[in-house]
Subunit: 553 residues, 2 copies
């Protein structure tokens, strides 16, 4: 008799549940629910206006995802709830909210529902940048050792800058909250009635380290005396590694979802990191790139190395027992969307339309016909700053080599190549700092639908590229962790490595490097790297100076 | 009783005659005739195929321009031919042809009419590049002093590489020709029956110098022993300064044109240089930029300075008694045409169409609304190489500072600004080498129809910009020189300076620098200059390496 687990993936605009067979990893049914409140970036539901760079969510939407999607997949599949042996979830991060001791979000309480700080701050809430800047300045001045675990910089998107913003702008909310908790952990609390904190968000987003814990009281006091005891007062101190069981489904949640009370629930997880087992990765040195509007690179290593310019290294941050490394590129799919909107000529749209083709497909078909190096172009992929290696949001894009014969498809291809060179910089940076990168996997939308780009990546990296078998990588990953929470005896697995090997999968097609392309790309990458270092490491800070001029206008 | 002169401007595709009143410079009538053979770059009239990069013309077309346009303007204006006191012409250069002792073009003779080398080699005939390369190499090795008068490089477009190509590929034509002559001088020969050579093309295109003459026999022998006596055998040695009278209209030409035999004819001139008096320039330090698809900068100085990277310095090269300086930018209007064709999005075309606007006008209107420095962009205007200061055809374009918010009009404006920075480099280069630039004039199509660009130039250069009053700058300039050939007694002028002051004119509108813009452009120019030197002077030859990779594919 087959057993099943459910993975629920909470994205930025919707939640998706997938029912997976544990013995095969086969996806049986799925359902999506779009958040009614979506992203609130102008006003609260009652019309209260929000500031510039704000991005909030409503936690009721997360509960409603469970109520809508799980009954739907049970119905679609006809699977007996008794055969669903576990449930796992993953979330965007750092997506974080203030709650009472019992888990009630402050925004559920009448007295706070008009206070923007009572709501969920979504990962892309960017209004705490000044706090992040101050935090980094103070941490650097104090020589905080943990700073190097984050490539030397804490992001404004993360938990401490965000709670500091609450304290500063709405001390009444800061005082009223008993917990400041990742939505990834809050949803598990709702499912199980038990408060847990997962090692992934704690490590990558809240500056927690398995060996050294959180930053010291002195550090927090240096930020603001009122933050001295923030860890004990607002953050949890018991951190649970990924792969553990958080608890079991409550009666109330069983009623809401149609599942059986007592169903094991995995600890919370993050949408990018949870994809790793979904492609079958079961150990170190295997990099997964999750490629969409931006790219996130997740990998495990056996040692903790402080690699300059990475996003973070966290023990148990991806799978238990390994050091999880995260890096990223801020502008990948966004790059091509920008190009199509701003640079693609009318004649191309007309021709694509006449042929009934999507404009990206049309451009890719033209770009595919170009030989490597034929355009004479090289670009720096910094249209949205540089997230890894240089970690500098003030860097901007560059393209070089244009002549009067340069065509749109040549520019389009140069932008694709630039993102591939950016990935190669990340990989070479790891290698130069003692972290081996031996295999390369790709998941996310681009990996599924862009063979040209995958071949370019393979040629630029000189590595075979394996492609995720599932289009629902995060939900499948969550279902894999759910099967580990269930355990072997119940029809699941005792560890995530075995679960990954069985339930994770890649496509049959593997992109392999074409030697003659590799040879030319090696030369082009040498040019990219020289320009990367010239503009990115201080020899010519023209990009920053132009931004300053822009700001001064 | 009013007197008149006629200026005939020979362009790349047509000839234009303008009848001008000498006492006012007023243009009374004009007529255009398109060359029936246009530019021959694929085949001769009889189907004989041409090589790659060839560009020929048929000299009969030049005669036909006189036969068609002069009667037409006489008829249109009703002016009595007796009141036409002079005729002047200007030509593209170096546009050059082989002729017999009596001036008959070899291509008019039956035995040569299927030989491509018997025809006119138009300025943009680029098939002598290997000859130019060898010439430069030999000249540099021999330490030829004159090389520095041309910024260190002789162009493949000029007279010596072109005749060397004839010698090499068609020695029978080389042997059959008695003269190798600029079309600018040949047309004067046809009009007057007298062979002359003007100081402008001799100096700028045939390496002649008023003090030192042509290069030595030893130099020519080093190129090819058969060229040892090329000067005496094929080029004329009597050079006539601009402003002189070449001769008088023959009976035959009087019949052809409807003018009176004996009408004074000015010595030949070049379409760019002849524009200088047309804007009223009468002395040194006043730069004229003739702005179209590319830009040509002409100026006079009182001393001969060897300015690195200029196109040439020639005594009597613009007006008698001064040293004429020429510089240029290879990609100005072409830049914007490329942008519109390759980078301008469909939505802009649709919106422009809905508003009934030309797309350039539409883009300029959007670009005009931007504040200086607001885009955060800076570009290098090398889409077609760099003609002056760096003199390097292998340089390519660059643009820097793009973000996901960058708009098409921002890029469009950055390209305009890049050409303005390029002009400022040329001016600063002159100043740094002892050649003062005190005033700035603009003529050519762009100066007439693009106020945004003119204002940007004024702000970037921090100089007022005066705009040519005539849209027919070359023809007006030729008419001015014609009035000098006629002389004061006949109703003309005794020198070109006085003629320029009276007959030349600028528009009432002068573009003056806006101090707040100047301040920001000074900062942006500093960035441009740094990038210009980094990519242009050897610190990073990435553009050349990319071109090499491109060639090797």
């Amino acid at each position: 008799m087959s057993k099943y687990t459910i993975g629920v993936d909470y994205g930025s605009l919707s939640g998706r549940a997938v029912l997976v067979e544990t013995s095969t990893g086969k996806e049986i049914a799925s359902a999506v629910y779009e958040y009614p409140h979506a992203v609130m970036d102008k006003t609260l539901p009652d019309g209260t206006p929000l500031g510039h760079d704000w991005a909030l969510q409503h936690p009721q939407d997360y509960i409603d995802v469970l109520a809508k999607t799980i009954p739907e997949i049970l119905k679609k599949s006809g699977v007996n709830p008794a055969d669903v042996i576990g449930i796992g979830t993953d979330f965007t991060a750092c997506t974080v909210l203030p709650v009472k001791k019992d888990g009630t979000p402050l925004c559920f309480l009448d007295e706070y529902k008009s206070n923007p700080h009572a709501y969920v701050k979504l990962w892309k809430h960017h209004a705490a940048q000044d706090k992040a800047n101050k935090l980094n300045e103070i941490a650097e001045k104090r020589g905080e050792a943990w700073l190097k675990n984050y490539g030397g910089k804490i992001s404004s998107e993360w938990a401490i800058p965000k709670i500091w913003q609450v304290l500063d702008e709405a001390p009444e909310i800061y005082n009223a909250m008993d917990r400041w908790i990742e939505a990834a952990d809050w949803i598990i609390w709702q499912l199980t009635g038990v408060e847990t904190r997962n090692s992934c968000t704690a490590g990558y987003k809240a500056i927690w380290n398995k060996k050294t814990g959180y930053p010291s009281k002195e550090f927090f006091k240096a930020l603001d005396p009122r933050l001295e005891n923030v860890v004990e007062e607002k953050l949890g101190t018991v951190i649970v590694p990924l792969g553990d069981k958080a608890g079991e489904l409550t009666e109330e949640m069983a009623k809401l979802t149609g599942l059986k009370a007592g169903t094991p629930v995995a600890v919370g997880n993050v949408d990018a990191h949870v994809c790793v087992p979904a492609v079958g990765i079961d150990g170190p040195g295997k990099m997964l790139a999750i490629m969409g509007t931006s790219t996130c690179h997740i990998m495990m290593g056996t040692e903790e190395h402080q690699v300059p310019g990475m996003c973070g290294v966290v023990e148990d941050g991806v799978m238990p027992g390994y050091f999880g490394y995260e890096a990223g590129q801020s502008c990948v799919g966004d790059h091509f969307a920008w190009f199509v909107e701003n640079c693609c000529p009318a004649s191309y749209f007309e021709d694509a339309k006449a042929k009934g083709m999507n404009i990206h497909k049309y451009l890719r078909e033209k770009a595919q016909k170009l030989k490597v190096g034929q355009s004479g172009l090289v670009a720096l992929d910094w249209w949205n700053g540089n997230r890894s290696v240089l970690v500098d949001v003030d860097l901007t894009g560059m393209i070089l080599g244009m002549t009067l014969q340069t065509t749109p498809e040549e520019i389009y291809r140069a932008l694709i190549e630039a993102t591939a060179f950016g990935t190669r910089m990340i990989i070479e940076n790891y290698r130069e700092h003692g972290v081996p990168v031996e295999e390369f996997f790709a998941s996310g939308g681009i990996s599924q639908k862009d063979p040209l780009m995958m071949q370019i990546y393979s040629d630029v990296l000189n590595m075979p590229i394996k492609i995720a078998g599932s289009e629902q990588g995060p939900a499948l990953g969550s279902a894999i962790f759910a099967s580990v929470a269930a355990g072997k005896a119940a029809g699941g697995y005792d560890d995530v490595f075995e679960a990954a090997r069985v339930m994770g999968n890649v496509k049959d097609v593997v992109y392999t490097p074409i030697p003659e392309n590799v040879k030319v790309y090696d030369k082009l990458f040498a040019e990219y790297r020289k320009l990367h270092d010239y503009f990115g490491r201080g020899a010519n800070d023209v990009m920053k100076r132009l931004k300053e001029i822009k700001k001064s206008i």
